[in-house]
């Protein structure tokens, strides 16, 4: 019987479906069957019938606690995809920071819509970036980008759009812990386009456990209370980036 007709036979459908569900259909036959199942609703229905009927066997299956690292790996894989988007966007933002604020806004939109087709700027490869935070203001415009490299614990901060800061004031960067929400200082920020500084070990630890980075406006010299003021100018998720080589410096 030709394949297409053969699969119309209810008995054949049932035999194939039951063998698929119990797992005795293997290899290429299994791959072929999965393709047929996607287009043949009768066969898919029979597969679901067998899956549902066998499910009570798992009632007594002993639970086995997963390893702690498994959830972390899942989260990293899920966020990995978005990390790559952020990092690609970052390389474009750096290119566009030389343009006007208006052009940056356009670049953001164009970058988000078409980054997959965007050819990245080829420069000498730099050490890999380990964390990145695209910092947004209250209007959700990207105004700063913070990148961190494990090598030399280097923190780089690019100001894409200069915030309005009163005289006798300064900006201060903070890490917000994902564990307990505590906020710790990462130092004052110079109002320059691009700044870099090496973090201490303790500060690097803050980055590793940070959910967000925030930038507040403080009196010159920085917060004397050890906590940020209520005037925040930027906030961004601190995302771990793995195995990514910076191409933009």
């Amino acid at each position: 019987m030709p394949g297409s007709l053969r699969y119309q036979n209810p008995e054949v459908q049932d035999r194939l479906a039951s063998n698929y569900v119990i797992g005795t259909m293997r290899g290429k036959a299994r791959d072929r069957f999965e393709k047929i199942m996607r287009v043949n609703q009768d066969i898919a229905r029979r597969v679901h019938f067998w899956e549902e009927k066998f499910q009570p066997l798992h009632k007594g299956t002993v639970e086995v606690a997963p390893k702690r690292s498994t959830w972390t790996r899942i989260v990293n894989r899920i966020n990995g995809a978005s990390d790559q988007i952020v990092v690609k966007l970052l390389s474009q933002l750096r290119f566009y920071r030389f343009l006007s604020a208006a052009a940056i806004s356009v670049a953001l939109v164009v970058g988000i819509l078409s980054f997959t087709n965007f050819s990245t700027i080829e420069t000498e490869a730099a050490p890999s970036i380990n964390y990145v935070a695209v910092m947004e203001n209250n209007q959700e415009d990207a105004v700063m980008v913070v990148t961190l490299k494990k090598t030399d614990r280097l923190l780089s901060l690019d100001i894409l759009k200069k915030p309005q800061v009163p005289q006798s004031s300064t900006l201060q960067l903070w890490a917000v812990s994902r564990e307990d929400g505590s906020i710790r200082s990462l130092g004052v920020v110079e109002l320059k386009g691009h700044t870099e500084r090496n973090l201490s070990k303790a500060e690097w630890g803050l980055i590793q456990s940070a959910e967000h980075l925030i930038v507040s406006v403080e009196k010159t010299g920085g917060s004397i209370t050890g906590t940020p003021s209520t005037l925040l100018v930027a906030k961004g998720l601190c995302v771990k980036v793995e195995d990514w080589q910076s191409r933009s410096g």
Binding site: D14, R15, S18, N19, V21, I22, G23, T24, R26, G27, R45, R46, H48, F49, E51, E52, K53, F54, Q55, P56, L57, H58, K59, G60, T61, V62, E63, V64, A65, P66, K67, S69, T70, W71, R73, I74, V75, R77, I78
Partner: protein, 188 residues
């Protein structure tokens, strides 16, 4: 499945996951990951491999939650099927089957004293109101055990033949006969 796997709760979590809600994924993981990991362990019999399979399954749940339909299958059935199929893939890719055959004493007990001593005996005897249990108990021992070895422990037909030292064609006949009778008993 235990009452804690409330299908309404799981369905809502899957709906939120379809909208890419990571908190919902985390809640789902806390609820069902130990059970799903247990299902994988029965097949791959290795802690590292079962955790790999669990990871792949949750990534698949993250990607495919939008395709889940309650009118087609219950949430735990859908997720258990995903992890069983990924476990079978893992066995193949890791070429683990020979090693597992050597390790697996539990299956040996399937063939002793009509299921006594096997963890499955508790399940099958636990609730006679479950139609599957009644139908499996009604099968000839060899037919039933071939089905259970395949479904619960992930044995291929070749595995079963080697394990019980019978020709593969005999195993195929047992499976065909057993599944045919099971289908009738289950009312399909």
């Amino acid at each position: 499945m235990k009452n804690s796997f409330d299908p309404d709760v799981l369905e809502k979590l899957l709906a939120r996951i379809a909208l890419k809600d990571q908190k919902a994924l985390e809640q789902l993981y806390r609820l069902v990951a130990p059970k799903l990991n247990g299902v994988a362990m029965m097949i791959v019999h290795d802690n590292d491999l079962s955790n790999d399979v669990l990871q792949e399954t949750f990534l698949q749940i993250w990607e495919k939650a939008g395709e889940y339909r309650r009118d087609v299958s219950e949430p735990m059935t859908w997720m258990s099927s995903l992890i069983r199929y990924r476990s079978l893939d893992k066995l193949k890719s890791e070429n683990r089957e020979q090693k597992r055959r050597e390790q697996h004493e539990e299956v040996q007990r399937l063939f002793q004293d009509n299921l006594r001593g096997s963890p499955l005996s508790d399940i099958l005897n636990s609730d006679n109101n479950v139609r599957l249990h009644r139908c499996l108990q009604a099968l000839e021992v060899l037919n039933r055990n071939a089905i259970l070895m395949a479904y619960y422990y992930g044995y291929s037909r070749e595995d079963i033949a080697i394990h019980i030292e019978k020709p593969i064609n005999t195993v195929k006949v047992w499976l065909k006969r057993g599944l045919g009778r099971l289908a009738k008993c289950l009312g399909h």
